[in-house]
Amino acid sequence: MIAFERVCLAYGEKTVLRDMDLSVPAGAHIALTGPSGCGKTTVLALTAGLLRPTAGAVRVDARRIAYAFQEARLLPWRTAAENVNAVLGDSAATMDRARSWLEAVGLADAAELLPRELSGGMRQRVNLARALAYEGDLLLLDEPLKELDPDRRDSVLALLREHSAGRTLLLATHDPSEIDALAAVYVYRDGAFRQA
């Protein structure tokens, strides 16, 4: 499903990944964890095709990739519901589905608000709702619960667990609770991600 073969990635003179191998079979749930700047987000961006490796090869066999970015990346001129609907085809017929996803992340009342009217945690939940609504067979989650209130985390975590079943999941996180709930672990150690 996902295969990294001796992947290197450098930004100018700074090497972020060196000879990284990673194999994620279809349906597996993998968490990447390690200190800030070790390349977790880079692995997700390479998987999504947003970056090209400096050396080595990245192979991804996925029909649709859903990506909950670390920053919410919402269209600022569209409401929360319209942002979710944008990945569903942007038609009036799909708007109800978009709203039901917002309801699932506890944002039914915020559907008509613009991103600037939402808190950081609310924007992050719209970001998650958009990723789940897209129904990708590969789900990339980058620090998905980072800005969420403690009382909201459990319900969102349960939602993620429910909707990641049967899909391949790649999760970048610092948070042990996310790892326990969602995925097997790859830890950054001695300059590489290794299975814990």
């Binding site: 999504a48 947003l50 859903a66 001129w77 944008a86 942007d90």
Partner: protein, 255 residues
């Protein structure tokens, strides 16, 4: 809607400058050099009740607006091309910079060699507006949030949907600002071209003839028409922007 206080301030300023004008005309005391405001108002009133006045103004307005619309469309297309293809940018940038810094009078005289006087103002306006719109739209494209473009790629928006959902709202405020600047520029350059080339039906011809026959009140009257048309166009454009802004089609940004 404009607040009453602001309206009173504008009217006060207008009354002040009319007073200054009347005082100067009274001091000069020669209608040929500086006509009194009341003389110009009478001349203008005499003009507006004639059918040729409206025909001349409409033809000039249409000609200039056509040039402005074509210039804006050309600017957007050029910016799209130069933002997408580096070689096109390398080829067109020097040319557009030359157009932008060439004096409008040089252009008028040069273009007169190649095109008829009736369409020359339209061509001049096109050439004045295009580089302004191109420059602003290119800046808008370059300033578009890369993270949103990545999001659009991941969720496979496609080229057209990416333009519609990401680029258009990002570039909208830059385009509007360019159009706002260009509107005044277009009107001034268009009338200047008409004055130098005197097409049959044009405000420029009326200005030229008023000067030729030393009809100073007429010259002031036609100048007032140019100023009024420019103000009305600007107000209409601002109203259009507010309407689009309310519908959040342009990133909700006002100019």
């Amino acid at each position: 809607m404009r607040r009453p206080g602001k309206m009173a301030k504008s009217l006060g300023a207008l009354a002040f400058w009319l007073g200054v004008w009347a005082l100067l005309a009274w001091i000069v005391d020669r209608e040929l050099l500086l006509p009194r405001p009341v003389t110009v108002a009478r001349r203008l009133a005499a003009l507006v009740v004639t059918a040729p006045f409206w025909r001349v103004t409409a033809v000039s307005l249409g000609r200039i607006l056509l040039g402005a619309v074509l210039g804006a469309a050309g600017g957007v297309l050029t910016a799209a091309g130069t933002s997408r293809y580096r070689f096109l940018d390398a080829v067109l940038s020097p040319l557009l910079s030359v157009i932008r810094s060439t004096p409008v009078a040089s252009f008028i005289l040069l273009v007169l060699i190649w095109v008829g006087r009736d369409i020359l103002p339209c061509v001049i306006v096109f050439l004045m507006v295009l580089p302004v719109v191109w420059g602003n739209v290119s800046t808008g494209v370059a300033a578009t949030d890369r993270q949103l473009l990545e999001m659009a790629r991941v969720y496979r928006f496609g080229r057209w949907q990416t333009v519609r959902r990401v680029y258009a709202p990002s570039v909208g405020p830059y385009l509007l600002s360019a159009c706002h600047t260009s509107l005044g520029l277009a009107w001034k350059a268009g009338v200047a071209a008409e004055v130098l080339t005197v097409p049959a039906l044009s405000v420029g011809r009326q200005l030229f003839e008023a000067k030729l026959y030393m009809d100073t009140a007429g010259l002031f009257g036609w100048t007032a028409v140019v100023v009024l048309c420019s103000l009305v166009l600007e107000k209409l454009f601002t109203a259009l922007i507010r309407r689009l802004g309310r519908r959040r089609m342009l990133g909700g940004t006002e100019i």
